[in-house]
Symmetry: C2
Subunit: 237 residues, 2 copies
């Protein structure tokens, strides 16, 4: 560790509740001398959890306007493994530009760096640093802390997951091999009859797998089941 982040890691590990978690984001912000530090996650059921230094006005507006569905940071990170500087993202669409302007108006800085983190059952979280500064200054800050930040982001996520585990006793469903196979074929676009041929079983049997998978996944129909299996990482197309 080349900066003071080493000590900060110890702090995170002592976090025991949401308030302390929130405090940790503030502390990290001050430590780095930047405008904002934010952690939030989106899970496959649509629940959300977040902490950070954005103003509550901005958070409310973000939710109200459903910016989640047009935020280039979300989209960019969703398709990527590596952290991204916001500059690298595609802000060309009209919606994205409007969103960007709106964010600035609510005190979000022009420079951002977001680390995507993925957990079990399709959990997807983002850890973001934000500031108002020049490209050069920002790049230097990132370059200096790049590796440590990955570790910090993971520690934040670990904590967030541990909070969540208290509430949810469930470990997420799992599919039997045949169920997974059936759902996978459907996700590839095969009809039930085609999938049955592919698997060498009767369509009736295949249907039982789909039904069974549907129930395990708590899905209302086949399409929903496929969507859930995909976002929980139970199948891969």
């Amino acid at each position: 560790m080349t900066t003071g982040l080493q000590d900060f890691l110890e702090d995170i590990q002592r976090v025991e509740n949401f308030e302390e978690f929130q405090d940790a984001t503030v502390k990290l912000r001050d430590l780095l001398g930047i405008a904002h530090v934010v952690y939030h996650w989106v899970n496959s059921v649509g629940e959300r959890f977040g902490a950070g230094t954005y103003s509550s006005e901005w958070v409310d507006r973000y939710l109200e306007k459903d910016y989640l569905r047009m935020d280039p940071v979300i989209f960019g990170c969703f398709q990527r493994f590596t952290p991204v500087s916001w500059k690298q993202l595609d802000w060309s669409s009209k919606a994205a530009k409007a969103f960007y302007r709106d964010a600035m108006d609510y005190g979000v800085g022009n420079q951002g760096y977001t680390i995507p983190i993925r957990g079990p059952n399709g959990q997807f979280a983002l850890f973001t640093l934000n500031d108002n500064t020049t490209d050069d200054a920002w790049d230097q800050l990132i370059a200096r802390n790049e590796r440590d930040l990955v570790v910090v982001a993971h520690e934040f996520n670990k904590k967030a997951l541990s909070f969540d585990a208290q509430n949810e006793v469930q470990v997420g469903p799992s599919l039997s091999p045949r169920e997974a196979s059936a759902i996978t074929h459907l996700a590839k676009g095969l009809s039930r009859s085609q999938a049955a041929v592919e698997m060498g079983i009767s369509e009736h049997t295949l249907r039982v797998y789909i039904e069974s998978a549907r129930h395990k996944l708590g899905a209302m129909n086949t399409t929903h089941a496929v969507a859930r299996a995909l976002s929980m990482g139970l199948i891969i197309v």
Copy 2:
């Protein structure tokens, strides 16, 4: 960084092909003075990519016996976010015990530490350290390198992903807001009629969006379209 892993990180970043990737695992093994270092990724469909210091006999046997389906390391890591020591896993089932004995016979050490890593589109990889030593010695080694190893694991995965990306020339399609919205509702489990109500339009209109999205995505049916939109990261449920 508290160990020599700092320099090693530079090495990984210079890796340009599979041979160098493989060499990097060997180098890390020697650096840490342990028996094995292995990176591999799992793709529940069966595709795999891997590099490491396990003997080819063991790798072959692993595949031949389909150990992927009963390996407690795979299972454990799949449900977890944090790295695990193999000791913490559940080795109580008959199949797991047989697998463990077999692994020992093929030169795998009794101590293991595996870091799960998840990427876009349900990518799931494992980075494993392995050695033959006492519990105490192993715990100390891990404690000393815990954080650095997370970074190292991520660098390995980044490289592996970049090799894979060379093969795929993807310039995905994009959906119009209404199309994306329609597909998102279907992915949430709504029927066409429900989704139409939700969007405040007629079911006929909704159908046009779905059709249009289907064509853009090159999908054979609605389920396929939803699956593609999800795995391309075009929608978020």
